[in-house]
């Protein structure tokens, strides 16, 4: 089997079995890349994951693209990303286009209404997860301080979130210079590595 075909098969499988979004796909990446094809040793895989996490944007496509690049060059990177994400994008477009073709039917509108409360629950869960993660790694005071400033800036002043986030990123970079070593962070990164190595 040719190298490119292997890349396609590996990332296609990860893409179609990876339910639950990017981060929950990491064990599947590990199974294909480290175990099945042995394209990377364990340590390099967890390094790649750690490096991917230093950058913004979805983790799955960074992993797929980078590993594809390492194994099969530029073509490998494109191949891996396409195999990983295109099948579900097509499924998504087909389903939603079908739904909007029958938009005028009252039962289709009803389906949209029925699913809205489920999305409320999913978003509420994500909101809680983010608060909770923030609270445990950043402390309740810091979390509430940034949260209140954000709420005022977004709702009161109508600022674009990018302005708030970029300002905070700059503060984070300047501040970390002074206070080296916030403890819970190192603990977090170690546990992340440990879970990958399992």
């Amino acid at each position: 089997m040719s190298r490119q075909w292997q890349i396609f098969a590996a990332f296609f499988r990860i893409g179609i079995f990876g339910f639950g979004g990017g981060p929950s796909m990491i064990p599947l990446f590990h199974a294909e890349v480290v175990k099945r094809y042995q394209w990377m040793p364990e340590q390099e895989f967890s390094d790649t994951l750690a490096i991917g996490n230093t950058l913004p944007g979805p983790i799955a496509t960074k992993m797929a693209g980078y590993i594809g690049f390492r194994v099969g060059g530029t073509l490998g990177a494109i191949n891996a990303v396409i195999a990983n994400i295109v099948p579900s994008i097509i499924a998504m477009i087909l389903m939603l286009t079908l739904l909007s073709a029958y938009k005028d039917q009252s039962w289709v509108a009803g389906m949209g209404q029925g699913v809205l409360p489920v999305v409320v629950v999913m978003m509420a869960k994500l909101t809680w997860d983010f608060f909770d993660k923030s609270r445990s790694s950043f402390g309740i005071k810091g979390t509430l301080l940034i949260a209140s400033v954000t709420a005022i800036a977004l709702l009161g002043l109508g600022l674009h979130p990018a302005i708030i986030i970029v300002s905070l990123l700059i503060i984070a970079l300047l501040r970390a210079d002074k206070s080296q070593g916030i403890q819970p962070l190192t603990a977090q990164s170690n546990s992340k590595k440990a879970s990958v190595e399992k």
Partner: protein, 178 residues
């Protein structure tokens, strides 16, 4: 059309370069662009995309980009939106690997995610509230509350697969809310 393509690029580029903290972090950032700013779709359509996106595999960011790009600008639009989502951080990773490797355990870099997380949490809370308001306006208090409680129990207590819960909600809505 070129204008639209450029807007599509920006609408997905910006959330993905500031969206620290993992995949779902970009959901409220994208909502700001595509619903509030460019008004390509309304909140109801956005929530349908989220619902179906959550019941299909692979990352939510690329599915949203692909579909919204397609809605706004056809296949070219989809390619542009997905490219804006995937390419910037992937190219940085490939070209700056050696530099990034040195910073992968750096406190500085980790504190970036840390500082952004509360912002995302607030944005998600606002989005959740807006969705809740929409649901109340469309389906009334009784249906909304009932579906929210059922969805919570099935997703979080019974740990049912999201695709099943969303499928049931679609069926319920089609029969009882149509």
């Amino acid at each position: 059309m070129i204008d639209t393509y450029w807007q599509l690029f920006l609408a997905f580029f910006i959330p993905n370069v500031i969206g620290y903290g993992g995949g779902p972090a970009i959901i409220p950032l994208i909502e700001i662009e595509v619903v509030s700013h460019y008004q390509w779709l309304n909140l109801q359509e956005f929530s349908e995309i989220l619902a179906l996106g959550n019941s299909l595999p692979s990352p939510i960011a690329t599915k949203m980009a692909g579909h919204i790009g397609y809605m706004v600008g056809g296949i070219t639009g989809a390619v542009i939106a997905v490219f804006a989502t995937v390419a910037p951080s992937l190219l940085l990773m490939i070209f700056l690997l050696a530099i990034l490797y040195r910073y992968k355990d750096s406190v500085k870099v980790k504190s970036m995610t840390l500082f952004v997380r509360p912002v995302i949490a607030v944005m998600m809370a606002i989005l959740t509230f807006k969705l809740l308001q929409n649901s109340y306006a469309d389906s009334g208090a009784l249906h909304s509350a009932g579906l929210i409680i059922c969805a919570y129990l099935l997703l979080e207590r019974a740990k049912l697969h999201p695709a099943l819960v969303i499928g049931s909600a679609l069926a319920y809505g089609g029969v009882f809310l149509g």
